[in-house]
Structure formats: C-alpha cells, structure tokens
C-alpha cells in the first residue's frame, strides 16, 4: 500500500493526525454556524482484475472527500471537497449555501459518545500487495487452464479512513484494512463463482477457494435445463446473502418507518421468517466490514432486523432519528446522486449448526443454488424480488449433489422463502453490497422447503 509520501508499506494514506486536523480546520472554518459537523473519508484501494490470459486492469486508486454540514438560523447545507489542503473552502461554501436560502428542516449534530472498538486493522493485508495478488492471479489462470477452463476475477486490498468532528464535541478517527477476492471460472457451458471480503487477507483462504472453484466449474461443464416448478433448495451462503440485500427496501430504515411503510412500520414483532432465522445489521460483528461510527460521528450499534424470525427495528441517521424521536443507530450514508439515507451497512445472518453437507443430505430431490444474479425488488411491500440463479448450481438427488443445472429465473417473496427455512448452515461467506462503499452482507447457507423457478403460475 502506497501512502501519500510514496513509500511502500501499509499505512493509511492520510493518517489520523492529518485527517483530524483537516476536519477540525473545516469546523473552525464554519465558525458562525449554530451547529456544524465535518467528516473526511479516504479510501486507498488496489485492485488486480484479471480475465482469461492476462491481468487487464491493475489499479491503484485513492479517493477522498471532506464534507461539512452547517446549521444557520434554522437552515442547513453541506459542502464537500477532495482538497483537504483547503478544508475551510468547504466550510465557507456550506455557510454560503445555508445563508443564501439553505434547506429548511434542521436536525442537530452528534454528541460525544463512547465508540466501540471492533478489530479494524490486520497486518496480514500488507503482504497482500500487488506482487502477491499478481502471483495468485497467474496461479489460478494456470490452474483453470489445466482444467480446460478460464478464470476471471479480482483480488484487492484497501485501507479506509474516516475522521469526524462536530460542534457537539465529537472527535473520531478510525482506519480499517480490507482484503477481497472474487473469482469466476468458466468451463464449457458451466461455471462456478467464489467471493469473500473482510478486514483480514489471511481469512480469505484464497488458494483453497480458487482450487475449489476450478473443480466446481469443471464439474458444471455441461449443465441441463431445470424445469419450471417448485423445488426444495439449498441456497449457498452467497445466494442466501443476496436475499439480505433488500432489507433496506423492505422497510428496515428510519425513512420507511417514518412514512409508515414497510415491515417495521406495518408488521412490528410479527413472525415473518422461520425461528431459526436471525438477521441484524451489526457493524461490530467479527465478519464483514465492521466499523465503529458513521459519517455523522454517531457510534454504531447492532440493529436487530429479524430475531428468531420476528420483525425488529430500523436503522436511522440523525435526520430520521429526529423525525422518529429516537437516538440515531449510526447508519448515516450519502450515496452518489441520491439524497442522504440511513442504510444497513454490515448485514449479518446468524449461522446455524448444520454443516453444509448435511443441508444437502436433508434434500431428497432438489437444487443447490450457489448464487443469484441481478436480483431486483418487484414489490417491496410483499418483499417480492426477481433474479436468476447462476454459476455452480446442481441437482440434489437422494441427498447428494449430482448433475449441474443451468441458471433459471425466479420471482419469490423473500419473507416467504425465509419462513420456509428449516435448517441454517454453520459456515459464513461475505459479499459486498453492490460495492464496498455501501457495505457488506454475510450469511450462511440455508435449506428452503419450496422455491419456485420459472414464471409464477
């Protein structure tokens, strides 16, 4: 990892002292505001992308944004800059916007609070440098070739920094390592996929995962069509995790709760999933991408979405928390080209105790689904999504994985599926939420009794 000074060695690109100085200078530049907060996000990432016979995109990217929010006479505005050499310019721009008319509707800034201390920094990511990633890419390209297959993937690492300062007394800085791997191996008409990410590189278990993915792809070489109909399925951890991507859309956000729509507003405490299903947004978990506070400086806490199948609570930021009259859960987020919105950032489904092979052994005739693709909400109120299965999908016959099957479209209710879960796997896998800026999802495999492939009757 190259830091700003250009020296090798894994250190944050900006560093705590410089980051905190920048947000404090921004805050000072906002003098005259009734309240103000400033945050600085920095992500220095390296990404080794490969396809077929080459590394086609070797990238080393630093992104940075310092944003100031001010409240002046009941009006608020934000301004941001990538130039932390001049943080006062963002403060002045925010003040000008607020004084020039600003946006009505005011909520305060975060107050000082104790921050949790999840394990954020893993020194093993230092060894996961460009040379190591290239060597692993070359290895899996060769291994796939020997199996008459082709490999496509991305191996990466990053350091994420967040510094926050506010007139409520908040001063916070944290830096976190990140390691990721994703691999698609194609053999004939078949394929297999693997991905994982987390704070540690060693935890990826890359070499073993790559070999397994090559073997699975070779086994999936000649898939057969899966007939339309209802099948018992074992959803692999990546397929199961995909179902969790939609919890924000299903109403587990403060905005939905305030509007009176979605699961938390309309079915609080109701049993919508099997009792073996527990889902939380847990920024303090030992898996996924834990982080101690959000961009408003609010300490993150675990937010229970489904506890033993029952609907729990919603994530909030300062704005939605103020509207609901509750404290923020620490989930402020500002996405590109969208209004700020509290979103889940580290979704985790609790693992069960059933080894994955026993999940399969409990299915007389059904389908193992490795992964879903391009899932989209069709009817958020009914938690209906559509998508296709893909990659390493196989028939299960007499409790054993047998022939590969081709991908197939489905349209199903997520709560409906979760209510038909009768066993939960004991092994977790993590995937990013669209991209790592939006967070991560971690889930075990699930056995579901009744999954409809093909169009609805």
């Amino acid at each position: 990892m190259t830091n700003r000074e250009g020296r090798d060695g894994m250190r944050p690109y900006t560093g705590g002292d410089r980051a905190v100085e920048a947000v404090e200078r921004a805050l000072a530049g906002a003098a005259g505001a009734d309240e103000a907060e400033a945050f600085l996000t920095v992500r220095s990432g390296e990404y080794t992308r490969f396809a077929g016979e080459r590394i086609h995109q070797a990238q080393d990217i630093v992104e940075r944004q310092l944003m100031v929010r001010v409240v002046v006479d009941g009006r608020t505005a934000r301004a941001a800059t990538s130039r932390i050499e001049e943080p006062e310019t963002a403060a002045r721009a925010a003040l000008d916007l607020a004084r020039g008319g600003g946006a009505k509707g005011v909520y305060g800034v975060a107050r000082v609070g104790p921050y949790p201390e999840p394990g954020l920094w893993h020194a093993d990511v230092e060894e996961w440098d460009a040379a190591a990633r290239s060597a692993e890419a070359a290895h899996v390209i060769r291994e796939a070739k020997e199996a008459d297959a082709r490999a496509y993937g991305m191996f990466g690492r990053a350091v994420t920094e967040l510094a926050v300062a506010g007139t409520g007394g908040v001063r916070a800085y944290a830096a976190a390592t990140e390691a990721s791997g994703a691999l698609t191996v194609k053999a004939g008409e078949g394929s297999s996929y693997w991905c994982d990410l987390g704070r540690s590189a060693r935890a990826l278990g890359l070499r073993e995962a790559a070999s397994r993915t090559v073997r699975e792809a070779a086994r999936a070489r000649r898939p057969v069509e899966l007939p339309d109909g209802v099948h018992d399925v074992v959803l692999g951890p990546l397929a199961a995790g995909e179902l969790l991507h939609f919890f924000g859309a299903f109403g587990f956000t403060g905005q939905a709760l305030a509007a009176g729509v979605g699961a938390v507003a309309r079915t609080p405490g109701e049993l919508v999933a099997a009792p073996c299903v527990t889902v939380a947004d847990d920024a303090l978990a030992g898996v996924g991408l834990p982080f101690p506070f959000d961009i408003e400086g609010t300490p993150k806490r675990r937010v229970a979405f489904l506890t033993e199948g029952r609907v729990g609570e919603a994530v909030t930021d300062l704005a939605t928390a103020a509207a609901l009259g509750v404290p923020s859960t620490g989930h402020a987020h500002i996405a590109r080209e969208e209004s700020p919105l509290a979103i889940p950032a580290n979704l985790v489904m609790s693992p069960g105790t059933t080894p994955d092979e026993e999940l399969v052994a409990g299915v007389e005739r059904g389908v193992y689904v490795q992964r879903f693709w391009y899932t989209r909400a069709v009817d958020p109120g009914r938690t209906t999504i559509t998508g296709v299965s893909r990659d390493g999908c196989f028939l299960i016959e007499n409790g054993r994985i047998t022939r590969p099957v081709a991908g197939k479209r489905f349209t199903e209710s997520v709560f409906g599926l979760l209510s038909r879960v009768d066993a939960v796997g004991d092994t977790l896998a993590t995937q990013s939420l669209m991209n790592v800026w939006n967070g991560a999802v971690t889930a075990p495999a699930l056995r579901v009794r009744g999954f409809r492939f093909g169009p609805r009757p």
């Binding site: 396809a51 590394i55 995109q57 080393d60 940075r64 800059t81 496509y152 590109r336 169009p455």
Partner: protein, 490 residues
C-alpha cells in the same frame, strides 16, 4: 464568469502543464503508451421530502488518473490533486501497477497508433445552473403538488447540476479540454393504503433525468404540473385493477424503452463484455465476436446507433475518455449487428476501429466500455397512429423493476403504469404490469417504431467495473410496438 469559466482547471495552460508532468513521469523502459485525465468536477444537489427535512449539498473534486501500457500490460493509478508532486506520484504508481501485473505467459495488447486529436468541446448552456437562484421555490412548489393527494405517504423532489473540466493528454500527442454541464430533476411519489404501496416518478424512475444542458432543461420540465400528475397517479394506482397475465401486444413508451435498450441492447453490445473482461462482475454477453454482419438481433424495424455527437444527454461529448473523437456509428442496421461498443483495447484485440466508447467516472477510474448515446432510431408516425396500429393491447411506460441475466439473454421488467388499449384507444389504468422475454426474440417482435416527433432521450447512470464505477450515458427511443410479449410474469 460564464458557465464554462469556473474552477482551477479551466486554465488550459496550467492544466496542460500538469498533464505534461504526468506523461513525463509515466515514461521509461517498456512504457509504450500513457494517458492522463485531469478532472475538476462540481456538483450541487437539493433534495426535499414532503413534510420532512430538506438537504442541499455542493461537492467539488479535483484529481488525476494516469494509465500506462508497459510491455503490453496496463496499469492505472489515480489520486486527488493537491500539487505537482501528487501528479508525479500517480504516474509512477500507474507504471508500477503495470510492472506488477506482468507475469510469465501473460497475454499482451498492442495498440495500433492513432493520429493526435486535440481541441475543445463545451456543452451548450443558456442559463448557468450554478447561478440560478429560484431552486428553493421550485422545490417547495413541486413538493406541495406531489404530496397534496391523500394517501401520498412520501414525496421526494430533487434538483441537481454538475459541471466538469475534463482534460486529456496522451503520449501520442492528443491534448483535449472538454467542459460538460448537466442539469436535472426528479420527482418520486409513494402512495399507500392498508393493502398496497405504489410508486410514480417523473421524468424517469431512476434518479429522474439529467440532461447535458443548463437550467433551461429543468425549466422545460414543468415540474410542478408533472409532480401533481404523478402524485395523483400514484394514488390512482392503489385501486387500479392488476394487469393480467398471458401474451399481449404492447406499445412501450420512451422511458421504458430507454431501459430496455440499455439492458438488452447496449450492454450486450459492449465489446469488453463480449471478450470476457467483465465476466467476474458486470457479466458477459450472448453475442460472440464473429457476430458482426451476421447476427440477426431484431426485426428490420430495429436500427440502433451510438452517437455522442447528438447534444443534450449524459452520453454527449467531443471525445471519449481515452481521447477517441466522437462520431455516429450504426450498431444494428435493419435488425443485424454491424458494430460493437468498443474502446482501444477491446477493438485492438479484434482488429477493429474503436468506436469511442471507453468512458470513466471522473478521474478516479480506468476507462471501460460504456454506452454513449445509444438510441433506437425512430420510424414514422405519431403515438396515436401507433396505438391505432396496435389495436388491442397495452401501453406501458416508466420502469418499476428490472432484471436480466449476465449474458443479457433473459429479462424481466415491470412498469409503473400500464393502460389498457382497445381498438387503438387508451383506456383503464392498470397496476403491476410485468413483462419478460428473450433478447433477440423480443427485438425480433418489434413491428414498428413511432416517428422522430415522439422521440425522447434520457440520461442514465450505469454501474460497471471493479471497483464499481458509474458511467453516465444516454438512451432514447420513440414509442415502440412489440407483438406477442409475455406479460404478468412477476
């Protein structure tokens, strides 16, 4: 100051000097080619929710991205721009990335030489969106209109503008400065009763619409009037009959056609996907490299072009992000594939001329194949004439959900609205219409496309690449008549 003379990167001489520093630092043994993009971007966004807090933000970023081709292997690096030292560091890291990416037996790419292309390009702007002062009043009026109907539980209005200095220089002598200005707006309304939640949006359902234009574009939208309309329609949908299942003939409106083109045409024709570069993330394509001139993609009514020289959308530009001049190219002629969306790397691998579709999100991402302005060319006649030709069926528009497989073969879409059409007359409003199909069969079932007077183009964001970057592009169409579509699939 004009709409084009703001910021620190509007000075060509200063920006060019930094680009020369980058090119100098990205040279050395084995480096066959290098390019640099220096981009300064400012964006302003004002959002409001009916009965809730407003949020306004202004975002400025300035950075540099350098690409180096060393012994046939690419490296890319990018960082925010502070001073000249940052530029040198980024260039050095790009070369280092290329060096580290070379391994024994790697496939190497050779770029055919290209003559330099230099100059300036600027978006036509009548009213500078960054000096327009009436946005608060417009937002409040639109919110009041959208949120007025009973049963509207959430109404959001957004106004946005962006301006960018994009400087490009390469080791072959090209020196370019583009100044792009965008303005846009969105309205999104949710209505709910005890049984259902319905959404309506304007002018498009995915982040509204943003045009390459000044504030005059937002003024042309008649936002308050349209906000009232979609608010009322969201409520009306709550009690509208559910659209049926079966097989039906459809006239698909321009907003939905824009997404249809994007998902089942634009992406499928991206040459990097066809060659496998995106297999691990965005996906591949059912099209094979030998499809040119042979693959029947649709009916003779289907003519698809890529033309960034058409002004006014997010796919309009003078050069793509690796310096290829913009030009009009046919992609599908009378239903047959005749070209791909390509950049220099992908085109070189097939021995083709690049189409100029290598695009990058700001300075921080490496260029990949994205659509530019990919349009379904209009046919003839009005919407009413097309509905007459339809006879019995449905008129559908404005996307509600979308999904397509990774080869862009099997898709399923839902629309916010559907209207029953009987004997060419638009009738009842229906809710929850979905349709699905297989890409070449769908396009093969296109019977007619309405004329240029019905054509609408939309600016759309799109995600691709690892790390995921956004491409900003344009798609457009006139209402399109498609026969025998499977509906009610969701």
């Amino acid at each position: 100051m004009t709409a084009h003379t703001w910021g620190s990167a509007h000075d060509d001489a200063a920006a060019r000097a930094l680009c020369e520093v980058a090119l100098g630092a990205a040279s050395g043994p084995g480096v066959e080619y290098a390019d640099v993009r220096l981009v300064e971007c400012e964006e302003t966004r004002l959002y409001g929710r009916h009965g809730g807090a407003r949020d306004e933000r202004s975002e400025l970023n300035l950075g540099v991205g350098v690409r180096a081709l060393r012994e046939g292997v690419w490296g890319f690096a990018a960082a925010p721009l502070g001073d000249e030292a940052d530029v040198r560091a980024v260039a050095g890291r790009a070369v280092a990335a290329a060096r580290a990416a070379a391994f024994e037996g790697t496939e190497r790419v050779t770029l055919p030489p290209r003559p330099p292309s230099s100059g300036r390009y600027a978006t036509d702007v009548t009213t500078d969106p960054f000096t327009f002062s009436g946005r608060y009043g417009l937002l409040d009026q639109a919110l009041a209109a959208a949120g007025a109907p009973e049963k509207v539980v959430s109404a959001e209005v957004g106004l946005n503008a962006k301006r960018q200095h994009r400087h490009f220089a390469d080791s072959e002598g090209s020196r370019q400065h583009q100044h792009l200005v965008e303005s846009g707006a969105m309205v999104m309304v949710f209505a709910a009763d005890e049984h259902d939640v319905q959404r309506r949006s304007y002018p498009n359902s995915f982040h509204g619409n943003t045009a390459a234009a000044g504030w005059e574009y937002v003024e042309s939208l008649r936002l308050v009037e349209q906000a009232a309309r979609v608010g009322e329609e969201a409520v009306a949908l709550l009690t509208a009959p559910v659209a049926p299942s079966g097989t039906a003939d459809l006239v698909i409106g321009p907003a939905q056609m824009a997404l249809q083109i994007h998902e089942s045409c634009g992406h499928a024709l991206e040459l990097d996907r066809i060659l496998g570069d995106e297999s691990n993330f965005a996906g591949a394509s059912f099209i094979t490299p030998d499809a040119l001139g042979t693959l029947r993609y649709g009916s003779p009514a289907v003519n698809v072009t890529a033309d960034p020289t058409v002004p006014g959308t997010r796919g309009s530009f003078g050069w793509d992000d690796e310096g290829t001049p913009a030009g009009r190219r046919e992609l599908i002629r009378e239903g047959v594939v005749v070209d791909f969306l390509s950049g220099r790397d992908s085109a070189a691998r097939l021995g083709l001329t690049p189409i100029g579709a290598a695009r990058a999100d700001g300075w921080a991402y490496t260029p990949v194949c994205f659509a530019t302005n990919v349009f379904l060319e209009p046919g003839s006649g009005s919407l009413d004439e097309l509905l007459d030709r339809l006879g019995d069926g449905y008129y559908v528009d404005d996307n509600r959900s979308w999904s397509i497989d990774e080869r862009r073969w099997n898709f399923q879409f839902g629309t916010e609205v559907a209207y029953e059409v009987r004997r060419g007359r638009r009738g009842r409003l229906l809710r929850n219409l979905s349709y699905g199909g297989v890409t070449p069969r769908f396009w093969g079932s296109v019977e007619a496309v309405a004329g240029p007077e019905e054509f609408r183009a939309f600016g759309m964001p799109c995600g691709k690449g690892e790390p995921k970057q956004w491409g900003f592009l344009g798609h457009g169409a006139s209402p399109t008549l498609v026969r025998g579509v499977r509906i009610g699939v969701a």
